[in-house]
């Protein structure tokens, strides 16, 4: 796979790609209704408006046209500083030199996709239940999507699972969470625990896609997100204002019999209820196990 595109812009390395993913707030998924010829302009406008990721989701086009479009969008995204993903097709991701791909629950298995793509490209997976979100943590992927938040004509078969699923995913995920499904504003999903907001119609069907993307990006960036912390060596998220005791409770941990250390200092048990999880905290929760 060539690492540079025709314009000479160099592809990001695996680490840079993941760093950029973590800083992303707005994720555009192309719709299936706009004429194919309009997609490049739409993506150009969305990226100019601040879309951090773009996913090409077209199911019906002939293969050569799809490959050509994907290559062109990868170039647009790279020039605009966005990440470019394709939906489902590993072959398309490889042919276009895409930054990654998004998989649904019924699509190619994540392990298989990772095996074929190698370590650099990003892989995301749709999760519709807390169990799916939890199970996804064992897979070699880079983000999970949670939704559909609201009923949407884009996916008429999907049953809306609300912001609860976004929060459930955020509680267990060690990778970024993308809220998706009928969202037309950037605040509520971020406050429910998403790292970024994915939209289809809110940009694609907007009279001015650039303006719509700009507004959504600003809303998502202005909302108060959950904080990333390190919990027993794993990245986790904690909602703003969460007390340590609440963190333990949602992990199902009884405070008796455990010790909690925050940024290297032991937290006395009586302070667990009042001490708020600090932003970026390194937290260790330990207990006794057998030993000699």
């Amino acid at each position: 796979m060539a690492l540079g595109d025709l314009d000479g812009n160099t592809a990001l390395g695996a680490e840079q790609l993941r760093t950029r993913l973590r800083a992303s707030r707005l994720y555009l998924v192309t719709d299936d209704l706009s004429p194919l010829a309009e997609v490049p302009n739409l993506v150009e406008a969305a990226v100019a408006g601040g879309a951090d990721l773009v996913q090409l989701r077209r199911k019906r086009e002939p293969w050569p046209e799809l490959v050509e479009l994907a290559r062109s969008l990868q170039g647009t995204c790279r020039r605009g500083g966005a990440i470019f993903l394709v939906n489902d097709h590993v072959d398309l991701a490889l042919a276009a030199g895409a930054d990654g791909m998004h998989l649904g629950q019924g699509d190619t298995a994540v392990e298989e996709a990772r095996g074929r793509l190698g370590p650099r490209p990003l892989i995301g997976l749709s999760t519709h239940t807390p169990e799916q979100s939890l199970k996804a943590q064992q897979l070699p992927l880079d983000y999970i999507a949670a939704g559909p938040v609201r009923a949407t004509p884009t996916k008429p078969e999907g049953i809306a699972v609300g912001l609860q699923q976004v929060s459930a995913a955020a509680r267990v995920s060690r990778v970024p969470v993308v809220a998706i499904g009928g969202l037309d504003e950037g605040v509520s999903a971020i406050e429910a625990g998403a790292d970024m907001v994915a939209v289809v119609r809110a940009v694609c069907a907007a009279p001015d896609p650039l303006l719509a993307a700009t507004r959504l990006r600003a809303e998502a960036a202005g909302a108060t997100p959950w904080r990333w912390i390190s919990l027993n060596g794993e990245p986790r998220k904690s909602p703003p204002g969460e007390a340590l005791l609440e963190l333990l409770a949602r992990l199902g941990v009884e405070p008796s019999g455990v010790a909690v250390e925050v940024d290297g200092a032991i937290v006395p048990r009586e302070r667990l209820a009042t001490m708020v999880v600090p932003k970026g905290a390194v937290i260790e929760v330990v207990h006794f196990v057998g030993g000699g």
């Binding site: 455990v258 048990r269 260790e284 330990v286 006794f288 000699g292």
Partner: protein
């Protein structure tokens, strides 16, 4: 005599001189039965991260920890700082000031790092812990650890988990003889006879883990170790014939030399 014979370690007063390890047992049930069979009153524990998702059960789940004196260890530490951090976590998790300082200085043998062991012991004593350092069979180091305030010293008979028995009996006996604090022989005791031997020499106690946990029948082996420790203790308190504080006496026939009808 039996009623008065107690082992005092910090605030703990123990009837049983067998400290029971809790690692490497085949199941939580076997561990609980083994501790019961040994009648141990002090058990060792390790401090580890809680699993965030999924199965959190540990081998300790069958035990009521409140019934025992807990001796958490700092196993896994590679420096004095790491040992101290683990000690802080252990105290916070167990609300007990006892700590077995264990700092590995050589990966292949798990032999302790003498300098880091000494430093961690000194600092934790200063913080008010009841410190029992796991140390090598170096005599001078055991004396220095006692000076530093260790509540007991725990020289290893052999490398951890090796079950090789007492590799350097001379040094272990010297430590027992010279140390002003209780000497608990730790690590490498493979058979009850090993435990019996060091108890005869005057060890204050023994810590056994692998020797019990990896026996074919751990529960019965726990009972065997307990009996050996009691026997060795009784023998020591009874004063071995032919032994004085200066060491062994000369040889001598057990039957009277006079009156032989063979003239």
């Amino acid at each position: 005599m039996e009623e008065e014979d107690r082992l005092h370690l910090g605030s703990a007063e123990l009837r049983s001189r067998l400290i029971h390890g809790t690692g490497k047992f085949p199941s939580a049930e076997v561990l609980a039965q083994s501790i019961a069979a040994s009648r141990a009153e002090m058990i060792t524990l390790a401090v580890r991260r809680l699993h965030l998702d999924g199965d959190r059960r540990s081998e300790l789940e069958g035990l009521d920890l409140a019934r025992y004196h807990l001796l958490p260890n700092t196993a896994g530490a590679r420096s004095a700082e790491e040992a101290i951090r683990l000690a802080h976590l252990a105290r916070a998790a167990g609300l007990s000031d006892f700590i077995k300082v264990e700092v590995v200085g050589h990966e292949a043998t798990l032999l302790p790092d003498p300098l880091a062991t000494f430093e961690a012991t000194s600092r934790l004593v200063a913080e008010g812990y009841t410190v029992l350092p796991y140390t090598s069979d170096d005599v001078a180091l055991s004396l220095r650890l006692a000076e530093a305030g260790a509540a007991a010293v725990m020289p290893g008979a052999a490398p951890i988990g090796s079950t090789l028995g007492v590799l350097n009996p001379h040094n272990i006996r010297l430590i027992i003889q010279e140390c002003p604090v209780p000497v608990i022989v730790d690590a490498g005791l493979g058979a009850p006879s090993d435990a019996l031997r060091v108890m005869e020499w005057g060890a204050a106690g023994v810590l056994v883990n692998t020797g019990i946990a990896r026996a074919q029948n751990p529960v019965e082996m726990a009972r065997a170790f307990a009996a050996a420790v009691e026997t060795g203790r009784l023998a020591h308190r009874s004063g071995l014939a032919g032994e004085t504080s200066q060491g062994r006496q000369g040889f001598g026939a057990s039957s009277p030399p006079a009156g032989l009808p063979l003239g």
